[in-house]
């Protein structure tokens, strides 16, 4: 029944509207066209769409029904946008119509006041677990592989294998717009609002077996059942990496602290301990969350803590080495035999660094990158690599990109992360790198953070 969340075949919008400023208008358009603001990722929902509004007979070119029960077709998912006080009777209709899932976008429940909280209890009672509820007070659900935009986000994001489960609708919304700009792909986005019924644990279980999802990202403000979450998260994390961003929320309980332990074990510290115990990767910022997700999606884990840095600019190499050391990544010294191989190639600059970071000097052309990268990756004592490119007059971003792409194919078990520093003249090649599965960052520290995440996860999986 819960699979209807990711793969419904028919949906009905209750509270569909002709008013272009209303949620009901936007949600219906999103299902019919993929988005309000047209982008190349917009396409109509692959299943059937129905509209429900007793006050009108036609919206957006489709027929409008007076109620869910009037629709002569089975419905897998209802998307509810009517005012809060009307929602209980809609839930009754969902039960009668045997609709498995209701996504309640409407606000005005437990987040508002005590009256709202009772209303929320009321809909749960009426749903009686026959209709499972997402929300209320949520952005909605998006599943890119079937063009399901059952939300009031302005567009479908690009397709990809990363899922995002968010406690905040506003964050989910902004991420979609960012994803459109950066061509970052998602499989599913769920904004779960008040968590009246289905919560984070349920969505994690759902995504555990979803073949479109390879990596799971979470934005959490607070959990209702910590132990339950840990049990599910640990199980799912073994199969698919889960990355979590936790917003610190001041606890509502203000019991006076009577022990050193209570004063040392603050809310956020406890959450971090719980996440660490489950082996979850913890992100510090929204950017980190999706940077790490991108790398987990495209690159293998780091099998041993031994990385090499190849750069055509000394400064970049030093900074990268600094970040690696700070994070506990081992920038291994090059063996004499490796240096001998590099010397023997005949393409290295006489002043090249002869060490790790391997500075192949500013005038490096693709041939030199080719020798440096492949010689180092071929060594059994080097297990991962960061490749830095800075732009000089003779630098060939296209050739360099080809070298990296081919090296990745040749050494598929060793992670490679690129830093094509700059912007304007490297933009096109960066897109090519990304499309071919090589993550690229314009900030050196991000590459180090992501490589560390690849190592930490490997360590945790080995301990299981």
């Amino acid at each position: 029944m819960l699979s209807a969340i990711l793969h419904p075949k028919s949906v009905a919008v209750v509270g569909a509207s002709r008013d272009p400023h209303s949620v009901g208008y936007g949600v219906l358009k999103n299902l019919l066209a993929g988005g309000i603001k047209f982008t190349k990722y917009c396409a109509p929902f692959s299943g059937k769409v129905f509209a429900v509004n007793p006050h009108t007979t036609m919206i957006h070119t489709i027929r409008c029904y007076p109620s869910l029960l009037a629709i002569p077709y089975p419905i897998d998912m209802a998307i509810i946008c009517v005012p809060a006080r009307i929602v209980p009777q809609i839930i009754d209709e969902c039960v009668a119509k045997k609709i498995g899932v209701a996504v309640i976008i409407s606000a005005g429940f437990s987040e508002r006041d005590a009256a709202g909280a009772s209303l929320q209890k009321e809909i749960l009672i009426r749903a009686g677990k026959k209709v499972r509820i997402i929300g209320p007070n949520c952005l909605g659900v998006i599943s890119t592989n079937i063009n399901l935009n059952a939300s009031f986000a302005p567009s479908l994001p690009p397709r990809g294998d990363i899922a995002f489960i968010s406690q905040s609708g506003a964050i989910a919304d902004s991420i979609i717009d960012w994803a459109l700009l950066n061509e970052f792909g998602f499989s599913t986005i769920i904004s779960y609002g008040n968590q009246a019924d289905l919560g984070v644990e349920d969505f994690l279980s759902l995504l555990e077996h979803d073949r479109h999802t390879k990596v799971i990202t979470l934005y959490i403000e607070g959990l209702t059942n910590g132990k339950q979450f840990m049990q599910v998260a640990q199980r799912v994390n073994k199969k698919k990496p889960i990355i979590v961003l936790k917003a610190g929320k001041t606890s509502s309980g203000t019991r006076a602290v009577q022990s050193h332990t209570a004063s040392l074990a603050g809310d956020y510290a406890v959450y971090r301990a719980a996440f660490a115990q489950c082996g979850l990767t913890v992100a510090e910022t929204v950017e980190d969350l999706f940077d790490i997700a991108k790398v987990f999606s495209k690159q293998p884990l780091l099998k041993k803590n031994a990385v090499a840095i190849v750069t055509n600019g000394g400064g970049g190499g030093v900074l990268m080495a600094d970040y690696c050391e700070e994070l506990g990544l081992d920038v291994v010294a090059l063996k004499q035999s490796t240096i001998a191989k590099l010397d023997a190639s005949g393409v290295m600059h006489p002043a090249y660094s002869r060490n790790n970071p391997l500075d192949i000097v500013g005038d490096a052309l693709p041939k030199r990158y080719d020798v440096a990268i492949n010689t180092l990756l071929a060594e059994s004592y080097i297990h991962g690599m960061m490749v830095i490119q800075t732009l000089q007059t003779m630098t060939d971003p296209w050739g360099d990109a080809e070298v990296v792409i081919n090296a990745h194919k040749r050494f598929p078990t060793k992670p490679i992360i690129c830093c094509y520093l700059g912007g304007k003249f490297s933009e096109k090649r960066i897109r090519e790198l990304e499309q071919q599965g090589i993550p690229d960052f314009n900030e050196l520290k991000k590459a180090a953070i992501c490589m560390k995440a690849l190592w930490d996860r490997q360590c945790w999986l080995r301990k299981r």
């Binding site: 840990m230 009577q258 050193h260 040392l264 959450y271």
Partner: protein, 207 residues
Amino acid sequence: MLSFRQTRTLLSSVHIPLCKSWHITTKKGLQKIKSFPVVAKIDADIMHKTDVGCVCTHLTNAPELSQAYTKILHNAKQQTKNIYGVIVQPEITGYELIIGIKKDATFGHVILAGLGGIYAEVFKDTALRIMPILRTTAQEMIVSLKSNIVFSGYRGKKPLHMKEIISLMIKLNSLIKKYPEITELDFNPVIVNEKSATIVDARIIVS
């Protein structure tokens, strides 16, 4: 907060030994104490005993002990009416660790271990896990501390008796299983040297 006697009873039910202690309620009771040096502290509902003159260390003979006893009781009376007595313990030297429990609203009981003593909250060198924990988890927690370099034997010193610390941590699993109503617990300090680990001060709060 439980009294010293209640605390001792509760802990002994899961085989957690406290430092050998005499619980003194009259001046005459001090006569039992024959070996020195000792430490004397108040048994009362006071969180920071050292700060309010309710702990006296390095008492080397009976007269010093007697003087300390009087002083401690006097200082304690300024803080609270709930005074249960004075605890006298042999003075042990070593590093001060903290082991503690807190009942968290979201995750249940959590266990903490780290650098202890009165500066615990200044240096904040601690590790935290959700309970119950495995032996390997307890070991990971200790290794993760900055202070572990010192515990393992620094600059020629012998390593500390951390095996006992790990044991104590595991026993706490049983304690909260038996008494889930415990909301806070502090073993601070646990004094650890090469030979032993001793809980010198224990505070337990139940709901």
